[in-house]
Subunit: 387 residues, 2 copies
């Protein structure tokens, strides 16, 4: 027993097992500390599995799974790094089975995988660091959505919102990616903390951020008893077009009215921004291009529309570039150079250029990750709602 | 490929894998639907693991793990029940490794285990069902806590809170159990939905509910760089007493002032209730008995203080029962008959009776579970703040 492990009492260990729904009580063991961030930015991961044959760490900062070694207590561990400060998803591969880190509360909300999160602080605070500045509030809301369903929103209100009851704010509608949920921009993207820090530094205007759930078809199926859910990873075909249209309709007809009724939002397109990552970036472009009267600020993170779809569905956008350039106060496109959507995004930028549509762009290192999403949020929110 | 499985595209499956931090890409496979609640209240669970040798379902409604069987696609499944409508934690045991359900977004926030949640609806809506009634809001807040740390709170405000800017409300401080987090009463206890339903039915007074994190020592260690965390399962000894005192101090000196500054809370002990489950029940009793001037309504769910501790630390409570009975408008003690804390709780009730301390009690079927917590919340909140 070393300083990082403490025997637990039998009675309360039984309780933990009962909580877990693990009725076949596992052997009592040491209390595992994981992840442990060391002063040199290396990180030690630990996983208790006395009977396992092979345990590896799968982490988004490693190119391949990293073997872990077992000690005499049955705790597998590995120290990796130093790791570049950021937030990374990780999981354990335990005899080939993916498991979250039982000792870590921080998790990645997602429909299709379960990953834990490790947040390695910088020597100077990162853009998302919890700092001693005034904090906004994250709220979970229900709203009446399409097909008689009840939708959920995660809403950020800036510091001082409750103390200034007559002040009104512009609104950024921010949509997460395929298999993500309405919680992902909060729990993984740390959008609330990024805005707290930018607002405290005078770098972004105080704004409300409304984060909807992107996979409306899944919710309709769940609440209305459908047994055949839509596959969220299928982008093409009639189903995908219907889903994209349903999302835009719900956002424009339900989410915006709910927000403007229940929050002190300044109405009008000049005070509405829309942005999103991955599938949410596609939903952003489709909703903005299909409802020019609704949003003047548009941010696509790691996503694009194909020239084919632009020609087919959004011809007015490119047919009159002078009008488009006047209407959009910001059209933003960003992508990582290793993103598997890089090529399509580069083509989209070329297409916009060829049609003299003005946009701002950012190409970063890295791939289709939430490390990059945080960079894009931090780069774009200072641009929104500026004169 | 049956109606419940749909091929995913290669490109977007790669994205899902990258999200997961699973850089060794698993074989592409069918999209798994799990859990699936059938019309007869049986539930089908599915888990994709083509290479696994043995997969079992561990669920809190089953006495023992239930073997699952594999189909030709590598999907393990089992249909169990009919199951009594309620919310239950469950996980899969995959070759002995505990794994959450990758296909299910609903999870149990906890420091020490990772479990998914299945919510089986009743033929008539259960007390926590999402119904078409006015909904309150859940907010995540930061507050200045002890030792220079930043604490987090989950706060429920009742329906109409934002629409009635001059109305003030009483406050229920509600503390979750050992290894739980400040999210557990929201995500597992569905306290917000229970209150929405009770308030809509005129059965509970509109109130604010403030849900703090119980394991302050862990947060102090995390934020202040301590490498030796407190074992949350150790209840006795000097460390445990210090932790209990720290919690009470933080609640009284930091959480209450923060709440009363930032929410429209009616001040004074008659407008403050305190309650909690398991360790949170102990913290409830200690904080209420140690700060008689702060709370008039006290709810202990599945917890107790020992006669020894009462004699040692809270002698004034029993020394003057007339005063105690006058001060507390509600002292509530409830427990499940199968709870491993049943005996201690029964002794506590006997002790209170012997000292003519008035209290209300409820003994339910079942054990130390969140199924019981929901019952206790639904039974006690209608009693709070009534004349």
């Amino acid at each position: 027993m070393n300083q990082l492990t403490i025997r637990r009492s039998g009675l309360l260990w039984a309780m933990v097992c009962l909580y877990a729904g693990v009725l076949a009580q596992p052997p009592r063991g040491p209390l595992v500390v994981s992840p442990q961030i060391n002063p040199d930015k290396s990180v030690t991961f630990r996983y208790l599995a006395p009977s396992a044959k092979d345990v590896k760490l799968s982490a988004q900062f490693e190119k391949a799974p990293v073997p872990m070694t077992k000690d005499e207590q049955g705790i597998w561990s590995v120290t990796v790094g130093p790791v570049k400060p950021d937030i990374y998803p990780y999981s354990f591969q335990v005899d080939g089975v993916t498991a979250m880190d039982p000792a870590n509360v921080a998790f990645f909300p997602n429909e299709r995988f379960k990953a834990s999160l490790v947040d390695i602080p910088g020597d100077t605070p990162l853009v998302h660091a919890l700092r001693d500045v005034p904090h906004g509030t994250i709220s979970y809301e229900y709203y009446p959505s399409i097909d008689g369903t009840t939708g959920s929103l995660v809403v950020y209100t800036p510091p001082g919102y409750d103390q200034s009851p007559s002040k009104k704010y512009p609104v950024f509608y921010l949509i997460s990616g395929t298999t993500d949920t309405e919680e992902t921009f909060f729990k993984v993207g740390k959008t609330n903390l990024i805005l707290d820090n930018l607002i405290a530094g005078g770098k972004a205007k105080p704004m409300i951020i409304v984060m909807p759930y992107g996979n409306i078809a899944a919710r309709v199926a769940e609440q209305n008893g459908g047994s055949k859910p839509a596959d969220p990873t299928v982008r093409d075909g009639a189903d995908a077009v219907k889903r994209a249209n349903d999302f835009a309709t719900d956002l424009v007809s339900n989410v915006i009215p709910y927000t403007e009724k229940n929050y002190r939002a300044i109405p009008g397109r000049n005070n509405r921004a829309i942005g999103g990552f991955s599938r949410g970036g596609g939903q952003t472009l489709r909703t903005a291009f299909g409802h020019m009267d609704k949003f003047a600020w548009v941010c696509s993170y790691s996503s694009y529309l194909s020239p084919d779809e632009m020609e087919r569905s959004y011809k007015p956008i490119v047919a009159n570039p002078a009008n488009t350039n006047k209407q959009f106060k910001l059209l933003w496109v960003s992508v990582g150079s290793d993103d598997f959507l890089y090529k399509g995004t580069a083509e989209f930028m070329d297409y916009l250029k060829a049609h003299t549509i003005q946009f701002r762009s950012m190409v970063t290192d890295g791939g289709h990750t939430w490390m990059n999403v945080k960079k894009y949020v931090a780069a774009t929110t200072p641009l929104l709602f500026q004169p």
